[in-house]
């Protein structure tokens, strides 16, 4: 098979150049965008199955690198992955096609709902229903805090970093991204022994 190389503009797999047509890229991401219900990481798993295993457009190694970056920068994971994978497949145009395909399904569905259902939101019965929903969402947030707190607040250092994050966003009332930046920098400074994450998806709150 020889040495595989995967530069950004093309991906050579099995010695043959893999350059999917734009329409294929669009359809792939559109389908994944349409049928994936759950957080961005769920979509990442599905996309990996499609791109790496089923269609063999991308090497697993490259996919994982991209997933790592997709979770490293702000923004919806689904969109980030689409951009990076699309770019690897067909360059900058490919990235636009992939992102467009990913966003289009939800865009259309939400438009439909906004047009059809929103006028009913102010109905008193609906308001009561929504009040219940709000309580559930609070529970959902608390659960996410519980799950991640249990996993991460294992040392005093981590607790301090977390406290600083809360300080930045709750007391200083800065934009949340600053909390992430501060926590990252502080964590970098404080934590000496770092075991490299085995997989980039060992993190992340679910949406």
């Amino acid at each position: 098979m020889g040495k595989l190389s995967c530069k950004y503009e093309q991906c050579q797999l099995d010695g043959a150049e893999v350059k999917p047509r734009y329409i294929d890229v669009f359809v792939t991401f559109f389908r994944v965008g349409l049928f994936t219900l759950g957080g961005g990481l769920v979509m990442a798993t599905v996309l990996r199955h499609e791109l790496v295993l089923k269609r063999r457009w991308i090497r697993d190694e490259d996919f994982m690198s991209e997933l790592s970056i997709a979770t490293l920068v702000p923004g919806a994971i689904a969109v980030n992955i689409a951009y990076l994978q699309g770019r690897r497949l067909r360059g900058k145009t490919g990235s636009a096609v992939a992102v467009f395909g990913t966003v289009l399904p939800s865009f259309c569905i939400i438009l439909l709902i906004a047009w059809g259902a929103f006028p009913y939101f102010s109905h008193p019965k609906v308001a009561a229903f929504l009040r219940g929903c709000a309580i559930a969402v609070t529970g959902q947030l608390a659960f996410a805090a519980f799950v991640f707190g249990r996993k991460q607040l294992r040392s005093w250092r981590n607790v301090v970093v977390c406290a600083v994050g809360v300080l930045v966003v709750a007391v200083l009332k800065l934009h949340p991204i600053w909390a992430v930046i501060a926590a990252g920098g502080l964590g970098y400074g404080l934590c000496k022994n770092v075991k490299p994450l085995d997989s980039p998806d060992a993190d992340k709150a679910e949406s």
């Binding site: 970056i69 919806a76 929103f118 709000a134 977390c162």
Partner: protein, 176 residues
């Protein structure tokens, strides 16, 4: 038009803050859309959050489409808001894309990541507080919320949150 510009700014800000999953964006959405711009009421936003989790697509993007449509006057508003919310990430990735392999394997990045994950936790804690303090108004609310929390813990997260949301909604319909 001024509204479209304002939509763009608000959702670009939300787009930058969308780090670590959709739930984290809730306080930002709450601040921008309900408090600062007065585009929706808290209840309407909750409806949006419930819908956004039942449909495909990330929460922040669905929120952009929805609010953009209602506030920006139709599809154009929706398109502009949706574009705004993905733009920050795209710009950052535009710069980072050529270095994907190097950055993803960099030790320093790994070390930063650990702290950043904890940053996400702090944002979730804050979100729980800022959203919860408006959603929960009395002891009854607290009890229902605790029950929802207990169900989620007991199911070890395997239950899709939508079930809990709908159930609590029904409970709300009966009780309130």
């Amino acid at each position: 038009m001024q509204i479209l510009f304002r939509l763009f700014i608000s959702f670009a800000l939300i787009g930058i803050g969308a780090y670590g999953g959709g739930l984290v964006t809730i306080p930002l959405i709450q601040h921008e859309i309900v408090v600062s711009q007065n585009w929706m009421t808290f209840d309407e936003m909750t409806g949006l959050l419930a819908v956004a989790q039942m449909t495909p697509g990330p929460i922040a993007i669905n929120a952009a489409t929805f609010v953009g449509y209602r506030i920006g006057g139709g599809i154009v508003g929706a398109a502009i808001a949706t574009f705004a919310v993905v733009l920050p990430a795209i710009l950052i990735l535009l710069l980072l894309a050529p270095f994907v392999d190097r950055v993803s394997k960099n030790r320093h990045v790994w070390k930063l990541r650990q702290g950043m994950q904890i940053g996400v936790l702090s944002l979730i804690l804050f979100a729980t507080w800022s959203y919860g303090s408006v959603a929960i108004t009395d002891w009854l609310d607290l009890i229902i919320g605790a029950a929802a929390f207990a169900v989620l813990v007991a199911s070890e997260g395997k239950l899709h949150p939508v079930f809990v949301i709908l159930t609590c909604g029904l409970a709300g319909l009966i009780i309130f």
